[in-house]
């Protein structure tokens, strides 16, 4: 188990109901996609947030990565929709 801060933004934050949480990532989980699938089983809110992973992006320690990027022991993982700045 490795402790990690999870951050959620925009409608993903709204669906889950919190903007951040500290989470013990099980050792069997090694990618953001696996983590999202795991979190999706926690409640209907999480399930809604991660129902369509084509609409989800992620950052590992504040750097954008593909959802299937293996992580070591990150301090911070963020899930968010495709960005809409400018």
């Amino acid at each position: 188990m490795a402790q990690c801060t999870l951050l959620y933004f925009a409608w993903i934050r709204e669906a889950i109901g919190v903007d951040s949480e500290v989470f013990d990532v099980p050792a069997t989980i090694s990618t953001p996609a696996e983590l999202a699938a795991h979190l999706g089983q926690r409640s209907t809110g999480y399930a809604r947030a991660f129902a369509d992973m084509s609409r989800v992006r992620c950052a590992i320690d504040q750097a954008v990565h593909a959802l299937d990027t293996p992580f070591g022991a990150p301090q911070e993982i963020a899930f968010f929709p495709p960005v809409t700045g400018g």
Partner: protein
């Protein structure tokens, strides 16, 4: 010099433009994004990823400076609740020659749309809210720079 600012506060584009005209500059190019009204839009709220946002903006300014001969770059992006007609983003560059300033400004506008962690939620007069979807045309615009 690179200046990056993420702020709820409005900016004064004229002052920002003059500040870019450092020694050696022969041209200043700039872009101002405005919250577009219409269709019953009452406001737009901008959310961002503190820490990562500033780093992402600084990185894209550095990449523009590596690609074109620039004197200075300023990127200002507002956050929070903005009403139609409000200034939302300022992109400005200065360079010895106009083509570098114009190209770098266009590049930074396109990159801002796709590579900076901002999200927009629209609020309407009838109480509806809607998270703005990313557009494929924005991805295509960013991709043309290679």
């Amino acid at each position: 010099m690179i200046r990056v600012l993420v702020t709820p506060d409005d900016f004064e584009a004229g002052a920002e433009g003059r500040a870019l005209a450092e020694e050696g500059a022969g041209a200043v190019a700039s872009f101002i994004g405005i919250v577009r009204g219409g269709d019953g839009l009452s406001a737009m709220t901008l959310e961002h990823y503190p820490g990562m946002t500033e780093a992402a903006l600084t990185k894209m300014a550095q990449e523009a400076a590596a690609r074109w001969s620039l004197i200075a770059v300023t990127l200002i992006h507002r956050i929070g609740c903005l009403t139609p007609g409000s200034q939302i983003v300022f992109v400005g560059t200065s360079a010895p020659h106009r083509q570098d300033a114009l190209s770098a400004t266009a590049y930074l506008i396109d990159r801002l749309k796709t590579d900076a962690p901002f999200w927009k939620q629209e609020q309407f007069n009838d109480g509806r809210t809607h998270w703005v979807d990313a557009r494929e045309s924005d991805d295509a615009a960013a991709a043309r720079w290679g």
